[in-house]
């Protein structure tokens, strides 16, 4: 495929579609990846998100061809490449350690994939220059990798991964070693570049914010299994399980068995509180009394007020009582941590203006609308 040198290298080169069908990878009794199936549309930016050890790297290496899956197939543009060796998959890859060749200059590093694919020297030079410009490092051709900063190495690694216009770009925690500010800058740049080139990207990260900012879709992995594969918004608003809810954004998870009140409403029993359920917010099947559920309440959905002195039960459909244990200022917002009588904690976020002055130790009342909560199950 890549030996066809007349292939258009225009910026509109479309990315490939990628399908994983029942991919599994076992190491003895360890199921590093356990029956993962997903489809990535051409040009999409997909992030594999999961805790350390959840199988992200293993899955990426199966896609790249470094690892043979124990079961399942990898299809690129509909073609089964499971048995195709790494060097014939026409993939670009950015490694976490960047894997720049220390004995080659920046220019020769970037020209490497072109040279391996038989391109002539004169042609290579122009593409190298272009690639360096696209990662904002013009004129760095003759530097050695050891003379570059971490961010510059990352950019060179990126330039090297895209210079041969692969149809698929794989990145394994590409920003993991960089400081936060640089990470944010590069997130935007990588995203822009991949969009301009129309690349299909599979990015690996354990940073939920990065996943949120960059991805068209997120594949959420836990213990080698695919928990949820959806857009960031959908995973945030409709997490299929408590695991999914906990991974994307802060979440308060209330667990229990549903009961039906006399008036027919479903409630979750809560000490010093009352939690009604809106059946329309259920992610899976319609909930019923006796179901074991997890109710997800996002910190921004919770209102907080001083507890009235009278001790009367509030009439709100959803409320909890607790003692304010900490107030944390986070830039333009405030994070309140409320300790419940049973020892659990509820996190509340609110903007700074027009709110009552909260001090640790105060008894507070937390309220929210049942429509803002999500009813899901333990995963």
């Amino acid at each position: 495929m890549f030996t066809d040198k007349s292939r258009s290298r225009g910026t509109d080169a479309p990315g490939a579609g990628l399908s994983l069908e029942g991919i599994a990878k076992h190491y003895g009794s360890v199921r590093a990846v356990d029956d993962v199936s997903l489809t990535i549309e051409p040009g999409q930016f997909v992030t594999l998100l999961g805790a350390s050890g959840s199988g992200k790297t293993t899955l990426l290496r199966v896609i790249a061809g470094f690892l043979e899956p124990s079961a399942g197939r990898v299809l690129i543009d509909g073609r089964d490449v499971t048995a195709v060796p790494v060097h014939r998959r026409n993939i670009g890859m950015v490694f976490q350690s960047y894997a720049l060749f220390p004995h080659l200059s920046v220019a020769r590093n970037i020209a490497f994939p072109l040279a391996m694919r038989g391109m002539r020297k004169a042609e290579r030079r122009e593409l190298v220059t272009q690639a360096l410009e696209s990662v904002h490092l013009p004129g760095y051709e003759d530097r050695m990798p050891a003379q570059l900063s971490g961010g510059q190495r990352q950019r060179v690694a990126l330039a090297r991964a895209i210079v041969s216009r692969p149809s698929l770009l794989l990145m394994d925690e590409p920003l993991g070693a960089l400081d936060r500010r640089l990470r944010e800058v590069l997130q935007v740049e990588i995203l822009k570049l991949s969009r301009e080139l129309g690349l299909t990207v599979v990015n690996v990260t354990h940073d939920q914010e990065e996943a949120f900012t960059m991805s068209d879709r997120i594949a959420l992995l836990a213990d080698g299994k695919l928990v949820q594969y959806a857009s960031p918004e959908e995973i945030y608003t409709r997490p299929v399980s408590d695991v999914a809810a906990g991974f994307l954004g802060e979440a308060n998870l209330l667990r229990g068995v549903l009961t039906r009140a006399a008036d027919g409403r479903l409630t979750l029993p809560a000490q010093d509180g009352h939690v009604e359920i809106d059946a329309a917010t259920a992610v899976r099947s319609a909930p019923d009394a006796g179901d074991e559920v997890v109710v997800v309440v996002r910190p921004w959905s919770v209102g907080v007020e001083r507890l009235g002195r009278d001790g009367a039960e509030p009439g709100a459909p959803c409320w909890l009582r607790g003692r304010l244990s900490a107030v944390i200022y986070a830039g333009d917002s405030q994070k309140l941590i409320v300790e419940r009588p049973d020892g659990s904690e509820v996190v509340v976020r609110r903007s700074m203006d027009g709110q009552f002055e909260a001090a640790p130790g105060e008894e507070v009342l937390l309220t929210w609308s049942s429509r803002d909560a999500v009813v899901t199950t333990a995963g």
Binding site: F2, F66, H87, A99, P102, A146
Partner: protein, 289 residues
């Protein structure tokens, strides 16, 4: 390439410096004194004409050239044979690595004499190899496997290849396996990935191993004496001949001095190119700069 030791040498003596003193003293007495004696003797027993004699002596010149020739062959073979072994050791899993390392150390722990005699038993006209080939009817005359260059090379390479392996292994351990994988993603067949990435990055280890093996080969005595032919002797054998047969320790000392000068000159050049610390294995890991 400056080694980090240069800065360290300037520090005031600490515990380890003091702890090293007895060893230093021992080396001075056991090594320095005899060496000075030899140098003095080469000049005074009976006179510096010892050297004049050497430079006109056709036999000595031939043995010197032959020594360098054999050392080069041994070096080349040791690196060629040692590299794949070191590579397997650097890239294998813990189990295989332990076995490979164990086999290596076993040969280190076995006495040089035993190993050399073992080759004698294997290679002699009535030895294991010839007996087997004769019995199988592959040959009807014993092959000349001993008392020639072949036997010397086999014996010396066997003794010296572990040094090459360890030097190359140390270097390969510093080459991230991910680099080779990166090359493969970029379209390089595994062999090309090795050729363009791993091999050049491991060259410092190859050079260090080669220098080490070469220098050690120059002074080899026992193996060439036991396995080599009587006609083509090496410098070390010439020295022994001078002292034991011709009873001329002055000329023998002069030969030893020439050999030593050769080694030092070579090391001086090699350390410029490779870095002495690396040759001596003081700095194990290669920097990327």
């Amino acid at each position: 390439m400056t080694s980090p030791e240069t800065g360290r040498r300037l520090r005031r003596p600490d515990f380890w410096t003091l702890a090293g003193l007895p060893g230093l003293l021992f080396v001075l007495l056991a090594f320095g004194v005899p060496m000075v004696t030899i140098v003095v003797r080469s000049l005074t027993d009976p006179s510096p004409e010892n050297f004049q004699f050497l430079f006109t002596d056709e036999l000595f010149r031939r043995s010197l050239l032959r020594t360098v020739y054999v050392a080069l062959l041994v070096t080349g073979l040791s690196v060629l044979l040692g590299y794949p072994y070191a590579y397997a050791m650097a890239r294998s899993g813990p189990v295989l690595r332990t076995w490979l390392m164990g086999a290596l150390l076993l040969s280190f722990w076995t006495s040089l004499l035993v190993r050399t005699f073992a080759w004698g038993v294997l290679l002699s006209n009535t030895g294991v190899v010839n007996d087997l080939l004769l019995d199988l009817g592959v040959i009807d005359q014993p092959l000349p496997l001993i008392r020639n260059l072949f036997a010397v090379l086999v014996g010396m390479v066997h003794v010296l290849v572990p040094f090459a392996i360890l030097a190359i292994y140390a270097s390969l351990r510093g080459v991230d396996a991910e680099l080779e994988q990166a090359a493969q993603v970029m379209g390089a067949r595994p062999a090309r990935a090795f050729w363009h990435v791993t091999l050049p990055l491991s060259m410092p280890g190859v050079a260090a191993g080669a220098v080490l093996v070469f220098v050690l080969s120059l002074g080899f005595y026992l193996t060439p004496a036991l396995l080599g032919g009587p006609a083509d002797i090496l410098v070390s054998q010439s020295i022994v001949l001078q002292v034991q047969q011709y009873l001329d320790p002055g000329v023998g000392s002069a030969m030893a001095v020439v050999l030593l000068a050769l080694v030092l000159a070579f090391l001086a050049i090699a350390s410029k190119v490779v870095g002495l610390g690396r040759i001596l294995g003081v700095t194990g890991k290669e920097g990327t700069s």
